[in-house]
């Protein structure tokens, strides 16, 4: 783990020192050792702030999407995990980032922690998380401490991850992990899929009724880049009403879902960003599963591919 961290620091230092990039985006420790946050490093001396651990869940590709980077001409180094890289590939497929101005450090990733699972184990605020091999030790502000297996607190999508190794990178740090075999897994859907139509409707109604339209899901989404022009904000056309109620909120989420269809690799950033814990992963992952069954397609796998809805095949076997 620490060797990967060193390698990231080394890569960042070289890129900055050689003038290859103007700044470098990685992860650093947050307010407490229980969380990692994005870090923008501008000088080679600062690279020691960079860390690498299973806490580094943020998808840094988000900072590359439209209107970012700032200023527009800047050259940027960026760290991507396997899943992050697929969102980068999705942007590259559409020609929305200039790969000449990027220096991508790819990190094979065995999984990141779902902090919500850890928090749920304590009544107090978790302030410190340590890793020792496959063992995780978490301590609270009041000093309560628990140990558990890393596998138990990984994000559910990390188990059976289809692309642990980056699909696109200028430099790879750390050891590549074995590529997954066979069909991609879409975990956590069975229970939802088994519900009947009315139960699904009820579940979604309950989930979306709490949406406060904070746009966190949309802003954090690495492939959702319309910013102020998002049709969810538009009054003309009035596709989505501005009234905050279940029906309009549902449509609001549908706009996001259908607009990232074919480009969303289920990185889960929206889900983790939601302040009211709407299970956004559910429908997005379900959509990706359907897309896979429909066209054998997975988003962001190949730079030379077009997102599925911006192209077609005459011999698509769909419909009647």
């Amino acid at each position: 783990m620490s060797s990967t961290q060193d390698a990231i620091r080394e890569a960042a230092k070289n890129a900055l020192a050689s003038g290859r990039v103007d700044y470098f985006i990685g992860w650093t420790q947050g307010h407490t050792p229980s969380e990692a946050i994005p870090a923008f490093i501008r000088r080679p001396e600062e690279v020691d702030r960079l860390i690498w651990s299973p806490l580094c869940h943020h998808n840094l590709v988000t900072f590359l999407k439209r209107k970012m980077p700032d200023p527009p001409e800047s050259r940027i180094g960026v760290c991507v995990k396997g899943c992050d890289s697929r969102t980068l590939v999705a942007l590259l497929q559409e020609g929305l980032v200039d790969r000449e101005r990027l220096y991508v450090v790819g990190i094979p990733c065995a999984g990141v922690i779902d902090k919500r699972l850890v928090d749920a184990l304590f009544t107090d605020e978790v302030t410190e998380i340590d890793f020792e091999g496959d063992l995780v030790t978490a301590r609270t502000r009041m000093g309560e401490s628990k140990e558990f297996a890393l596998a138990d607190v990984l994000l559910d999508q990390c188990g059976g991850c289809y692309s642990p190794n980056p699909r696109y990178a200028d430099e790879l740090v750390g050891d590549t992990l074995p590529e997954s075999q066979g069909k991609p897994q879409f975990p956590g859907l069975e229970e939802f899929e088994a519900l009947d139509s009315a139960a699904k409707d009820a579940l979604l109604a309950e989930a979306f009724s709490t949406c406060i339209r904070c746009f966190a899901c949309i802003n954090v989404c690495p492939v959702c880049y319309c910013w102020d022009q998002c049709v969810n904000r538009s009054r003309r056309p009035a596709l989505v009403g501005q009234k905050v109620d279940t029906k309009e909120n549902t449509l609001f989420q549908m706009v996001h879902m259908f607009h990232v269809a074919g480009r969303c690799p289920s990185c889960g950033a929206c889900d983790r960003a939601c302040p009211v814990q709407i299970p956004l992963y559910l429908l997005h992952r379900k959509m990706n599963k359907e897309l896979y069954e429909m066209l054998g397609f997975m988003a962001g796998m190949d730079v030379d591919e077009k997102p599925v809805f911006q192209t077609f095949r005459i011999d698509d076997v769909l419909g009647e």
């Binding site: 009820a202 549902t250 549908m254 259908f258 429908l283 959509m287």
Partner: protein
């Protein structure tokens, strides 16, 4: 009759969004041939199925439609060459997702009816409205 049974038995409302060149003309042909059809559907004309954003279908459900039918030219016959190929992918995804959004799959259909297929239009719309009527009016909450 109680209010509840009343809603359950009221005629359903179906929106049919059709392309101008094939399916609208097919429906015209069905009219010219006096082919009887259900009362409770309303046709909306657009130039091409490629013009139809799946979100418009969702909007229709949200606004209270009990069923939404999309119909255009057969693949290969699009007046604009390619519109229905794009539509086919988009509506296939919508078709697959709707059951998971709390809308029974029988309430949505996308299909192809050419300008010369008046009889096909009649059977498509009759069957579709029939299926929707079997399910009855929607009392959905999310959409």
């Amino acid at each position: 009759m109680t209010a509840q049974t009343e809603t359950r038995t009221r005629p359903v409302k179906v929106i049919a969004i059709v392309c101008n060149w094939c399916s609208y003309a097919g429906a015209d042909g069905a009219g010219t041939a006096r082919l009887k059809q259900p009362y409770n559907f309303r046709v909306l004309r657009v130039p091409c199925t490629g013009r139809i954003d799946p979100l418009l279908a969702l909007k229709a459900f949200q606004k209270g439609a009990d069923g939404v039918l999309i119909s255009g030219c057969h693949p290969g016959d699009c007046h604009y060459s390619e519109g229905n190929y794009y539509a086919r992918r988009k509506f296939e995804l919508l078709d697959r997702m709707l059951p998971h959004l709390g809308v029974e799959s029988q309430r949505f259909k996308y299909t192809w009816v050419s300008a010369s297929e008046a009889a096909r239009w009649q059977s498509v719309i009759t069957e579709f409205v029939g299926h929707v009527q079997e399910l009855g009016p929607r009392e959905g909450r999310a959409l």
